[in-house]
Every structure is written in structure tokens, then in C-alpha cells.
Symmetry: D3
Subunit: 340 residues, 6 copies
Amino acid sequence: MKVLTFGEMMLRLKPQGNNRIMQSDAFEAAYGGAEANVAVSLALLGNDSAYLTKLPENLLGETALATLRKYGVDTHKILRGGPRLGIYFFEKGASVRSTNVVYDRAGSAFATANQTEFDWETLLQDVDYFYFSGITPAISAELEHAVTTACVYCQQHNIPVVCDMNYRGKMWSPEKAQRVMSKLMNYVRICIANDEDFEATLGIKAFDGDMSRGIEQIDAFKEGMMEVTRRYPGCKMVASVLRNIRSVEDSQWMGLLLSDGEFHETTRYNLHVMEGVAAGDAFGAGLMHGILHQFDAQESIDFAIAASVLKLTISGDLNLVQESEIRGVMKKGGGASLSR
Amino acid sequence: MKVLTFGEMMLRLKPQGNNRIMQSDAFEAAYGGAEANVAVSLALLGNDSAYLTKLPENLLGETALATLRKYGVDTHKILRGGPRLGIYFFEKGASVRSTNVVYDRAGSAFATANQTEFDWETLLQDVDYFYFSGITPAISAELEHAVTTACVYCQQHNIPVVCDMNYRGKMWSPEKAQRVMSKLMNYVRICIANDEDFEATLGIKAFDGDMSRGIEQIDAFKEGMMEVTRRYPGCKMVASVLRNIRSVEDSQWMGLLLSDGEFHETTRYNLHVMEGVAAGDAFGAGLMHGILHQFDAQESIDFAIAASVLKLTISGDLNLVQESEIRGVMKKGGGASLSR
Amino acid sequence: MKVLTFGEMMLRLKPQGNNRIMQSDAFEAAYGGAEANVAVSLALLGNDSAYLTKLPENLLGETALATLRKYGVDTHKILRGGPRLGIYFFEKGASVRSTNVVYDRAGSAFATANQTEFDWETLLQDVDYFYFSGITPAISAELEHAVTTACVYCQQHNIPVVCDMNYRGKMWSPEKAQRVMSKLMNYVRICIANDEDFEATLGIKAFDGDMSRGIEQIDAFKEGMMEVTRRYPGCKMVASVLRNIRSVEDSQWMGLLLSDGEFHETTRYNLHVMEGVAAGDAFGAGLMHGILHQFDAQESIDFAIAASVLKLTISGDLNLVQESEIRGVMKKGGGASLSR
Amino acid sequence: MKVLTFGEMMLRLKPQGNNRIMQSDAFEAAYGGAEANVAVSLALLGNDSAYLTKLPENLLGETALATLRKYGVDTHKILRGGPRLGIYFFEKGASVRSTNVVYDRAGSAFATANQTEFDWETLLQDVDYFYFSGITPAISAELEHAVTTACVYCQQHNIPVVCDMNYRGKMWSPEKAQRVMSKLMNYVRICIANDEDFEATLGIKAFDGDMSRGIEQIDAFKEGMMEVTRRYPGCKMVASVLRNIRSVEDSQWMGLLLSDGEFHETTRYNLHVMEGVAAGDAFGAGLMHGILHQFDAQESIDFAIAASVLKLTISGDLNLVQESEIRGVMKKGGGASLSR
Amino acid sequence: MKVLTFGEMMLRLKPQGNNRIMQSDAFEAAYGGAEANVAVSLALLGNDSAYLTKLPENLLGETALATLRKYGVDTHKILRGGPRLGIYFFEKGASVRSTNVVYDRAGSAFATANQTEFDWETLLQDVDYFYFSGITPAISAELEHAVTTACVYCQQHNIPVVCDMNYRGKMWSPEKAQRVMSKLMNYVRICIANDEDFEATLGIKAFDGDMSRGIEQIDAFKEGMMEVTRRYPGCKMVASVLRNIRSVEDSQWMGLLLSDGEFHETTRYNLHVMEGVAAGDAFGAGLMHGILHQFDAQESIDFAIAASVLKLTISGDLNLVQESEIRGVMKKGGGASLSR
Amino acid sequence: MKVLTFGEMMLRLKPQGNNRIMQSDAFEAAYGGAEANVAVSLALLGNDSAYLTKLPENLLGETALATLRKYGVDTHKILRGGPRLGIYFFEKGASVRSTNVVYDRAGSAFATANQTEFDWETLLQDVDYFYFSGITPAISAELEHAVTTACVYCQQHNIPVVCDMNYRGKMWSPEKAQRVMSKLMNYVRICIANDEDFEATLGIKAFDGDMSRGIEQIDAFKEGMMEVTRRYPGCKMVASVLRNIRSVEDSQWMGLLLSDGEFHETTRYNLHVMEGVAAGDAFGAGLMHGILHQFDAQESIDFAIAASVLKLTISGDLNLVQESEIRGVMKKGGGASLSR
């Protein structure tokens, strides 16, 4: 079972240690991006995982490619060419100081790609699942068209489409996002939507925006999930991470899955967060792993949330963990590191 | 509105990472000092901020000067010459292990400066506020005289004097401190006094010395503040940070301001502390910023404590934050990262 | 009063920062081992402390030796020769991700040493206490014989033997451990046994294995300790650390001592753990320091647990603290950083 | 005497140590650009030095600005706004491996600036010398127009214009460069042209392109310089660095100046190169320093080349040296480190 | 055309910077081994390159594997299991201080592998060239048998065998090496032999052992090469690097190839050496690349030596260069960085 | 045979990598001092080596002490107390840029020690050689008296005195140095004098001050040495390093010894210098090792210069090499890395 994920990969530059950009004379370099992160997680868990993007033909493009290969992702479909690799500067927050991201992604090889460069018939011919996030259509109209074409192809060839809504307020407005995503949702079999995604990308009010008490709003989340399946009958599964974020370091997380009309909740994890990025991608990959291996719904969401909270302990965008470690966290569910 | 701060700037050397001095083969270098830190904060917040000290004419003096310039401080008044730059070694604590400071500041250019080197008429001629801390008169008798002369000049020319009591037990005894500071307080318009400062520098018992329960003693603090204004009628404002310090990483902070006879309290912040130094200077600068921009009393103390708790997330002595970040913390006051 | 400790010293390699092995291109190097750690602690506390092991005649052996000398350990008894220095890779965990150790210690100079290389008559002739841990006899049959010979010599010459049970599941099975340790216990005057040691090495059920609630099981621990003294009448003292481990960073610790039939409990410390290794060795050294200086039983166990929790704030295997710092933690017992 | 330099400042990212981009997980960050480097050098040498560019209003723009302030440059004329800070990746070569630069400067705040944003009347009103390099007009047509407008203003107000030809083959073709630069040369009083600049930017053949034997071609250089002054009679001075580059680390440098019809040659320096960037900017700044302080022609070119070869020992784009160090190199001219 | 290389991959640990092991508290980690290095070079040059070894099933084995994947090597044939990954400590020399290697490779997964684990029929079925070095049979008798079996299979199936003699004095004696290698040479089509390899592994005196004047002995080398082809008529090609090593940093290199009875010499490169390891593997890979792409003999040896001298500028065991860079060095043959 | 060396130990702080102080935010820490360096070298070579100084009772004093212990120096005679540890900032030069030292040693524990604190009768009672350098009497009048008292004691008890003249222009004038050293020379049996030492400390002109051609002046050196033995008949041996320093990295060194009226010269080494400090101390220690082990004069000076040139490859003040490495350099005398 081969999964193809489609999106942009960037260079992440983070000041060393706890430094702010103004006081740092070195940046830690990491390469990642929502769908690339999913592809890496799936490969590390032993799945046949391919990634599609466009990377420039320079040393930074080479290094992004090599990073994917290092962790076992099939990179043969990736296009090469175009102007540059997108960059984002990541200033990790602490305590009351929020994490700060400076995007420098305009004009990248992927952002300037033309939809006709993607020959979906060939690209999707050996693929069993197609995965993208809301970031991809937000990048450009060309990519929105590319995603749409891919989705239509998938529908015609019965390839399930998985979409992580992944709303990015710096990339598009809720209005724009809803216009695009509500169309794409007609092709989506499995939908991942967190916190503000419901309202921003689908116009469904499932959460009041207070990140410090997401878990308390579980009933509203459930109602929102039901509404998704009502609106988009092709969508058979909706998954979400619910969070109480108390500070940069301190939060509580749980998973929630609506599958075939039934809800499945996970343990609530009390967490000390090392780095709060890409945990949603780890969640998506964990969910996909469960689906690929035909876990039942409860095991799938338990696996997904355990993978996700493990990501919070790893530096960089990639969830460098093994299945045994995810299983370990699931097992300790009733133990020391959990909230009960 | 130009603020001039007056004090000593030192090189801080901190073992890399979590190392102890005995196991470290590298030190992180930072430059700072109570009044220099205030000057930098004010400059970063967009104010006209000048700093007065004496720096040696060697590469370390140059670098201290360049650091001030980097963050926008007016350095034209600074004297050059003298033997050396003071140093302090900073071994950051963790959990139950206390932070450890080894002073190596004796014989510095500033400590050996003669009071006659400071031509206050020229130095203060374009100044609207004069700011110093109790560290400056503690360094030497010459500097005590220099501060006194400056205060007299300020009184004669109606330049408000701001003083952060900043008691340092390794520099002088309470008896000596009280003898000197009680004289200087006659010139002070705005007084910042924290925790043990009340008793050690003013002989006013406002706190029982148990750092783990400062906030619980808020009524005693208020009584102490009232006593300050009773004794020194020229002092129109007394500000203080109250703290419950549970361990090196974990504490609760709030601000308290007595202004024109009325008390103003802030939200209580629950904090994960990255580095517990110079937060008092950030507080003083935040308060000054409010005064310079004619915030009302409540906004001033809210701004000051938000600036102060942000400092706990920054490495080094300097509070490298922007006004928007301070505003962000103030706004989240009722939110995720606060104590309720 | 000279203490001789006997065991293996290894090179510890830890990925820099929070990295995992797969993403790290540098390892921090530290040298340590249970009994070496005890010897270093005792030397740093001013005691006459010697260490016995076998180190290879290469640059790694030299560096291990130099490390011991640096911290004041008497290294004159150490044998030189043999194939290699044992190594272990240490991947520090975070939050829900457990710390991960990859042993690479097979075939080391010590592990391949022959019992006849240890001339106990000479080695023990100026020694007042002999200290080893359960790791030493677990390494090889030769070393089991060497330890036994040393114990017999000590019994004959009235040199008290101290043993930290230190069960290592990756080195031997409970059956093997019990067979060996139950014999050696006949020579032991002071026994240190933590958590699972009771059952794994002595077959005494004193703890149900749930590390998140060790302290709650204090009565079972006491019963286990009593059982030790009943079975081995030569054993006059049994000491233990009890822990509630909530996550990699967050735990609660206390000490418990059975001495001359009476129990002594310490304060319970709430801790933020920087590095959770070798705290047991710090505990053993703290206890030994108390005994060497004839502290009473309560002070001994208070000192031992304070030394132990300080170790959790230090990087590497060695407890680089001074007596004044341990005393500081003991004094703050009723203060800020403690749980009450 | 105030000098204003005009050009682009970028973030330079260099893999740590000797690493290649593919094997590096951290980049050293430095900020610089041809004209910014000149401004910094002039400020460090005690001159009144201002810099004009446009920097984005984000943390990277702030840091570039702070860097200029740190070294004493007047930054008040700098425009703020626009999309991003230009970046270049710098992979330092070694031995036979050439240094490798990956430009990522398209779409920067400066590159997208409109000529109308530069109000030259105000910007140049207190300026005594105007300095730019051929990079600035190469960036965009708008900047070409802006430079031209500035030159016209300078001519009208008798402000000498200094131009470092600085040909960059990755930015424009020789044809384009010649078309633009030959027009601008009509306004230039002092011209700096190295190696291939003569042909690429002026169409004058003064060098055969073999970097390993530039010094041997000194007569051709002289002829080229004469030709410059013949073609552009307003150009009173032409300066050049001549080089024999034997490998990344090993080269020989000398300076050559044509001033008022006479040639001045310097000592030939044999050099071990640490970092071969921005030495031309150091040369230009050294020359300007001589002119500002009315050194005679020989001293000016001696000072310029000494400043330039010192830059080869400094990491980053900025020539962080003091006048005394430049004088030291000039004095050792007949000594140990020179070629005889 | 698929190449399979067969050998051991190890973890290399190097003190950071210029440190010696005794003063270093961190090691840079790199993964490599003679045949793995060849496989990586071939993959980076765009060839179909597979590697065969046995790696342990732990995080170090995973990381070695991921490193190969990162650079594009086909890792599907690699066996997993066994005790440990071999390690070597690498203390880089400087000037008169020689580089120092401490081997810690005994008992590795590969060294303890049984010859029966290698199913050559399957492993070699899609292979066009088989490449090993003299290190592999030196590791163990089992591996000597494995290599022999592979060679026999290759002979039977007309797969050319390439062997780099690669004598390692710390692994076996000349007598042992000659006994084994002279048997294996009967199967070798292409032989790489450097410096002392001729005598130590083949008993042919072609070099007097003075590394400071290898190039001067080119005639003796030629005679040795002829002797190789006389003794082993199946050997059609003998290639060698000749060196004058003046110090750790300073040496002169050239390539020499005997092919079909004719000698081909390359330019002599004067080099500044960053890291003098694995350049022989880079040479072997460069030669193979020429053969795979049917370069003529002169171009092959020119390409091989250019690849080799580029390796001297790269940190770690792997020659991370692109074909264009090798071509660049070949072209500059008459230029700046070459000796003429 | 026990050697006691007497002098000051300091903390050396060096910007990381090639950085200048103004651009560095971290300093590498090392501990050393002329006589401490000699003591460490002697201990590493297996001699009984003790060191005498006074170190402050703080963490920096502890670390200096631990460093000595690490390398095997007997530290029992060292006094503790006093204000601070001396510091020096070390900015390593490159190519034409000279190395730059900023002293911060005033007011150190040693510099403020009183001569009466040194009880020479006890301190020298088990000592066979007494070694100091000209730095020690240059520090203070008290230390000049202490050295004198020690010398007198040595003369009375027939303990040979060894003195490295070690002139430091930043510490005293030639006049002052000559006044003091000419008196002390009356007690010296073995004198080490380099370059400018002859004139500055003894008023003997043996070198014209041009460091680029010291070796060419060997005859003048010989004459100077003869003059030393004529003036001070008790001085039986004079040793010197002669150098041609071409740049920071590039120099040629040789040793010269006058012993019992005969001259002994060594090979001339062409060197690539990593760090040009403390090589004179390595030379002194090498010479002493020869004397302690009764090498003949030629072997002694050969050993001394080989130890000295090895130091140029080591970071920090301490010559961390083994006897076998020194022997290796001696043996390669006719080989690759030498000048012939």
C-alpha cells in the first residue's frame, strides 16, 4: 500500500539554543514541511511512502532531497527546477513568550510551479492513498488547480484522499480558505481538522478559539465533526487533536476520532513540550499508519495521538520515532507520564 | 524625553549549556549591568536612552560599547580609560541547585573612577530622567559621591530621579546600604524596591525573607511602600515585583505599584523561568516606558511586570523584546499562560 | 578513612542537545560508571577515595584515568591493559519519550579481566571500606569471583563491605542475579537497594513496579528492608531512594534508611530533572560520607538524598557538587523548592 | 566629512566549520553587502559613515540594522519595508575545491524598491562623498535609475562619487554591465576596478583572466587604468588589487593606484587566506579613509591594500580591524610576513 | 550498470576542532568505511551503486544505514543483526603531529558474521561490478572465505572484480596479507595499489617507504605495476596514487594508471590537506566512474585523481562532491591551484 | 627526582574559532601559565612534578587545581586564598594579523601574595630541581623576594635552579628586568633564553629583533650564550629556540644548546603553526626531561625542540603529548615534515 503526499518542503532556520534572532550568530538547519513530515513518519514506520513536490536544482534542493532519502521516503516522483527553496525562520518561544515564525517562502520552486508540470496519471498510477494538507492549495492558484485535478483523478480511480485542513492565517483568509477547501472536501475520504481549522477552513464553529481550554470543548468538537460528515457524505472519518495549552512548555493533549458515525477518545496526556511544531503531521501519519495496517478505530486514534505527543519531544520537523516507542507511550497510558 | 542611566557594565561569562564551571571548557559571553540593561530596554522600546559609565580602552571595553550601540543606546557620554572591565561568572542553577555567581569586578574602570571625572553639568544638560540603582553607590565611595552630586543637580534642575534599590549583599552590608541609600532617597521621585530591598536598604520590614511566599505577603509590602512615601515625601511612586519562587524554573510573579497614594496590582503570572537575571531591570525599564509615554498607573505597572516576566525567557542580561510582545503578554493576562 | 570502590568505568556518548542519535552529528563525551561515580563524589567531599578497575592502555583509557584524577580520586590501584574501554550511548528522553541506552560494553578491558589479576591482599591493605555494586559481578564470572574473594578478605580483616544492589536487566536475569547476590549479601554490612532491586536481586517483593507511585508504597519498602536484615544478620543498614516518576522531567524523591532496626525518612523533594542518571551513585556516596564522618542515621539519610537530588541537575555521570551545596538543599528542606 | 554608501545588505549563511551544505545542520549567520561593508570599515576607522539601503520590517531586517549600529554606522537614512532580506549561502572552499555561493536574493526589500522612494535631495544634503558599487545598478532597473539620479545630484552639488565596479557575472552580462556602467562612469571621480572588472564592466582588456598570475600582468593593468582616465576625464583616480591566487588558502596580493597621472605600487603580500570575501570592500574603505584624511597617494594605496589583506583573516563580511592593526601590517611591510 | 561494494562500515568519532582526545568533551560523529565510501561516491556521481555489509539492529546500525540512503546508495542487500557497530576514534594530526587512530572494531556485527550468511547467488545476480578492498578479508577468516566465494562466483559469471589492496598494518601482517591477497588477485580484473600496498600485500617492492618522496619513485611504481600484470594475467588494469607528503597539511599527489600495457600519468597537484582520510576510496570510485562511463584511460585516471584530491578538502569519510566539481579541478589542471 | 615549578596560573579565554573578540559570543576556556605548563609536561612524561602557586578559593581556583590534577601534577604544595584568578584574553591571529593578548591579571591571588606565605624550608624539602621563569619576579616585589629566598635556599642545599628568562614587555621594562634577573642569574644552573630575552633580561645583544630571521643569526646567539656562561659561572647550560617566523601559521624552528662549553644544534623544522603559545614552556619541560633522565646533551636538545614544535599543534597552554610522539617527531627528523 503506497501513500503519496503532496506539498512544499522548506528549510527551517532556528537560532541556536534559546537565542532570539537578534542575538544569534548561528541557525540550526532542518528541512521539512507538513506533507513531507507525514511521508517521513510513514517511511520510518515501515510503510511504502512517496512524496511529491518541486525542489530547486541547487545545493539546498539536493539537501532537502537527501533528507527525505535518509529517512526512507521514495523521492522518484519529485520535480526539480525553479528558483529557490522556501525558508522559514523559527524563533522558539518560552514560558509566556510565544514562538515566532518569519516566513520567507515567496517565490519558491514549488510556489511558482505550474499545474501542468504535474502529470497525475503517471504520478498516481501506483498510489493507494493520496494525502495533502490545506497548505498546498493556499500556496498558489496553480497548486489549488493541481490539487483539484489530483483529487478528481483519485475519485475516478477510487484512491482515497486524505486531507489535513491545516489552516495558516498568514497564507490566506478564512473566506478564501473556505471557498477552496469546501470544494476540495467533496473528494476527501479522511479529514483531519484541529482547533481553529473547523471555522477557518470549513465555516463550522467547533471551538471558541481559547487554546487554553480546547479539551473542555470536546462536545462542541464532536458536533463540528458530525457536521463535517453531514455536509460531505464522502468523508468517512474525521480526526482531531484537542489541546489545553497552558504555556509554551506545558500542555494537555488528547485525540478524538469520528469513524463510521462513532466517536473514539484517547487518554489525555500531560506534556512537557520541547518543540511545538509538526505534531499535527505526526498525528496524521499515525492515523494513516493505523488505516494502512487496518487497526480498529480506537487503536488508530490511540496510535495517532501517541505519535503526535512523541513529536513534541523531538527537535526539527520530522517525527524521528520508531513504532515501538509509540507503542510504549500507548502502553504507559495508565502510568507515570499521563494525566489521571 | 531623554533618560540617562548611570552604572557599571560587566562581561558575564556562563558555562555553555547546563555545565558547571568545573566541567566547562567554554563560556558564553554577554555584556550587561543593571542600568545598562535599563538603557537597552528603553532604546529597544523606541525611547531616547543614554547610558553613562566608564569603560576601559581595550577590546572588551569596545565590545561592551558596541553592544550598547547595537541595541540603539546613546553612548556618547560614556567615559573611556581605566584598568579593566568587571567580570562575573554565572553558573545557572537547576531545580534544587541554586544559581551561583562568582564576582570578579574589583579594580574595574568604573570601580576605580574618580568622582571628578563626571562633569554632571554637561552630562545632564539634555536629560529628562536620571536613573540609577543601589549597585552604583555600593561600588565605591567615589561613585557614592558622584551619584549624590548628580542627584543634587537633578533636584536643582527639576530632573526626576529614579532609583532601583537593588540591594547586593556581596557588595555592602545592610547598615552601610541604609546609611547611604536613606540619604539618596531624599532626591528620589520614583523608587523601585523588591523583596529584601525594603529592609536591607531602607530598614523597613516589608517581607519576611521567604522567597517562596512573597505574594502571600502583599499586605506587608503595601505597608512598606506606604512607609517609604511617608519617610520620603518627594517620592511619589513606589513599585515592586512580588514573587513566589518554588524552584529555579518555577515561580509566580506579580507587580505592585503605589502611585499618588493608591495601589495598583497586576495579574499573577505562573512562569517557567529560563534565566532568572535582570528581570528587575526589565521591570524598571517597563515602568519608565509607561511614565515616558504617560500610561496611567495601572497600565504602567501592567506593562512593567509583563516586560519583566518576558525577560525570564531571554538569555543574557538584556531584555530583547519588542513592545508588541509585551502587549501580547498583557493581553493574554486572562489567558492560557496565566495563573487562575 | 580510605574507601575503595570497585567496578567498571565507561565512555558515555550522548547526542548534543535534545537530538536523537539518528539526527546527531556529534556526541558529548563523559566518563563514568557506578563505582567510579561514588569514588568521585567521595573525593569531591574531601574523603580519601580510591577506585579499582582495569583500563586499556590507549587514549580512551588515559582519559578515563585523567578524569578520575581531575576530581581527586586515588588511581594508583587501577590495572592497565586489555582490549577496549566500554561505551554506552545515551539518548536523553523528554516528556513522554523515555531515555534510551545502547550498551556497547562487551569485550572491555574490565569485562575480560581475569580474577587473578586482582591481588586483594595488596589492594585492600590500607582500605577502611570496600564498596561495589551489583553491576560488577554481573559483568563476568571472573569478576563475580573477584568480588567474592575481596568480600571474604574484607570479612577476615573486618573491613565493612558496602553494596548497592543496582540491578541491570540488560546484564543478567533476576534468577542469575539472585543466585549471585544472595551469596554476596552474606558479607555486606551496608546495603543500598532501590525500587526493583529488592525483587530482582534478592527475591523480596517490596515494590509493585509502578515507578509513578513508589513513595506511596513506603510501607512495603520498609517490610522489604526488614526482611533483608532478617535474612542477612551481618547487614546492619539498608538504604533506599523512593520515587514517584511522573515524566522524564518531573518526579518526587525521598530517602529511607533502616539502621539498627529503626527507620529514618527524609523530606519529599519535588524535582525538575535535568538528567536522570547516576543519582543512585550520588545517594550511595552521600550515605558513605555520613558514615565516614559519623553523622547520625537521620543526618546520613538526609545528606544522601540531598546529594542524590542535586545529581539530577548535573550533566554527565559525576555528581560535581560541594558539601555546602548539599547542606544548602538540606536546609531549604522546609523552603521553596520542596513539596509541602 | 560624511560618506554615504548605497547598496544591498544580505544575510550570509555559512555551514559551520569546513562542512558542505549537504552535511551541515547549522549555518553561521553574518550580515553584509559590498557598500555596507565599506560603511562599517569607515565607521570602525573613526569616520562619519552613513549607509543607505532598504530593509524589511521583520526580525532579520532589525538584525541587519543592529549590526550596522553595533559597528558605528549612521543608519538614520535607511528605508524600511518591503518583502524580505536577501540571503546568500556561502560554502567555503579549501585547497583545490572552489568556494561556492548560492544566491537567494531575488525579491528582496531592496531589489523591489522603487526609485521614487529615494529622496536624494534630503538623503545627500549632509554628505561629502557618495559611494556605490556596480552591484547596486545590477540589481534592478529601478536601482539603476536611483543611482543615476544620485550621481546627477552629486555632480550638480560637487559631491565626489566613488564607484567600485564590482562585476558580478551571476547578476548581469558584460554587455548589460558595460551599457550601464559606461554611462555612470561619467559621474565618477574615483574608480576601483579589479581583475575582470575592466573588461566586463568597461570593455577594457587589462587582464587575461588567469587569476593565478594577475600580478605578472601589472603592465596591462596600468594600460587599462590609463585608458579609464582617458575615456572618463572626470575620473581622477583608479585603484586596483592585483592577485596571484594559487589556491583557496594561498595567494599573493598587491595594490596599484593611478592618481593624477602617476602610478603607485605597494609591497606584494604573501597570504594565508582564512576567508576570501569582502576584501575588495575593505580595500575601497581603506582607500577612502586615506582620501578623507588626506594621505598622499602612496600612503593611501599602502593603507588600502593593508586593510584589504587583513580582511582575509576575518570571518564574515565585515573588516573588524583597527587602524593600529592596519598600520602594523604596513610597517611589517619589509618584515616577516611579506614576500621578498 | 550496477556496482556492488562489500566491506565494513564504522562509526568514526573525532574530537571537535583541533582537540586531542584527552582535552575533548565532544566527538564529531561520521559513518564510513572503505567500500561504503566508494558506494556513496558512485551514487553521488549518479551511478547505480549498492553496498553489502552487516549492520547491528540498534540505533547506530540504523544511522549508518540512513547515511547510506541519504546519499543514494542501494541498501537493500545489507544484512542486519549481530552485536555492535565497529568504531574508530580519529585524532586529526597537525603539522609535525601525526594523525592518530584508535580502532575499536573488534566484535562488530560484520566482523562476527558467518560466511554462510552471504548468499552470493542472490546478492550478485543483478550486479555488473564487484568491488572490495583488502580490509574485508583482513577482518576475519569467515570474511576471507566470503570474499573468495564471491570472487569465484564473479569469475564464473563474468562479473569483473575490482580490488583496492588497502593494506592495514594494524589488522594483519604482510605475511598473512600476502598469503590471502595473492590468492584473491587471481580473480581481480582491476587492481588499485598505493605506496606500501605493493610490498605489504603482494610482496612486490615498488616504493622505498619514504612517504615524503613517493612521486620521485614513479619508475619503481611502474615496474611494480608491470610485475602485477605479469603475475596476474587476469588483471588488466593497475592504478595508483603517488604522493609526496611533506606534513599533515602539505602534500603533492598524482595518479598513475597501467591499462592494457600502457601507462597514463596525471598532473601533479600541490595540496593543502583538510583531512587526509578516505582519499584512496574517492580515487577508486573516480576510477570506477570512468570505467562505467567508458572514459578512455587518460580521462579515467585524471578523473580519479581529481576526485581523490577533492576528498582531501571534505570532513568525514564520504567524498561529498559533484561531477561538475571534479571536472572543475581537472580543467584548472593548468591553473592556479596546480603545481607547474 | 622531583621537580618543583613556581609561578602563576591563569584562565585563558579565547574567542571560538577564528573570531575576534568583538564578534564572539563565546570564549573557549583553558587554564595555564608558564611554570604550570612545565609541570604538566613533566607529569605527562612520567616525572614526579610538583607545582607551587596561590589559587583563590572559588570555582575558578578549584578548576585550575583540578586541571593540574587531571594531568598528574602534584598539587599539595599549592596555597589557597586571595582575591581572584588572573585572566588573559587570547585573540588568535592569522596570516598577517598578529595574535593579540589582553591581560587581566592584576590583583590576582598570586600577584597579591606575600613572600612570607611561602615557607621554603618545607616547600623545597623533597625537591630535586627548582624551576621558575622571569614572569614570576616580574609580577610583584613580594614574588621577586620569594624567588630570591627560594634560590638562596636551593644554593645552600644544592638544589639546581632552572630559569626560563621569559621576558614580558607588558609586565616590566628591560631595565627593571635586567636589574632583577642579573641578580637571580647568580643562582641559576640551567638557563633558557630565547630571542629577545638575551637583551631584555640580561643586556646581552644576541639577536637583532627581526623574528623573521632568527635562525640566520645563530652565530650571534652562540656568542650571547657564551657570554652568559662567562658572566655567571654557576650557569652550566644555556638553551634556546631559534626561529624564522614568516607569518602566524608559517615558521621554521630549531634548538640550540650550550652545555659544558660545547654547542649542540638540532634539525630545522618547517612548521604549520596551529597555536603559537607555550611552546617555550614545552621546550623547557623537554630539556628538563632529558636532564632528569640523563640524556646526553644532543639528545636533550633534540628532545626539547621536538616537544616544543609539537606544542604548536595543540590548542591551549598545555603540551598534551606523550613521549612516544616526541620520539616520533625526532625520528622523522630526516623525513617528510622537516626542512631539508
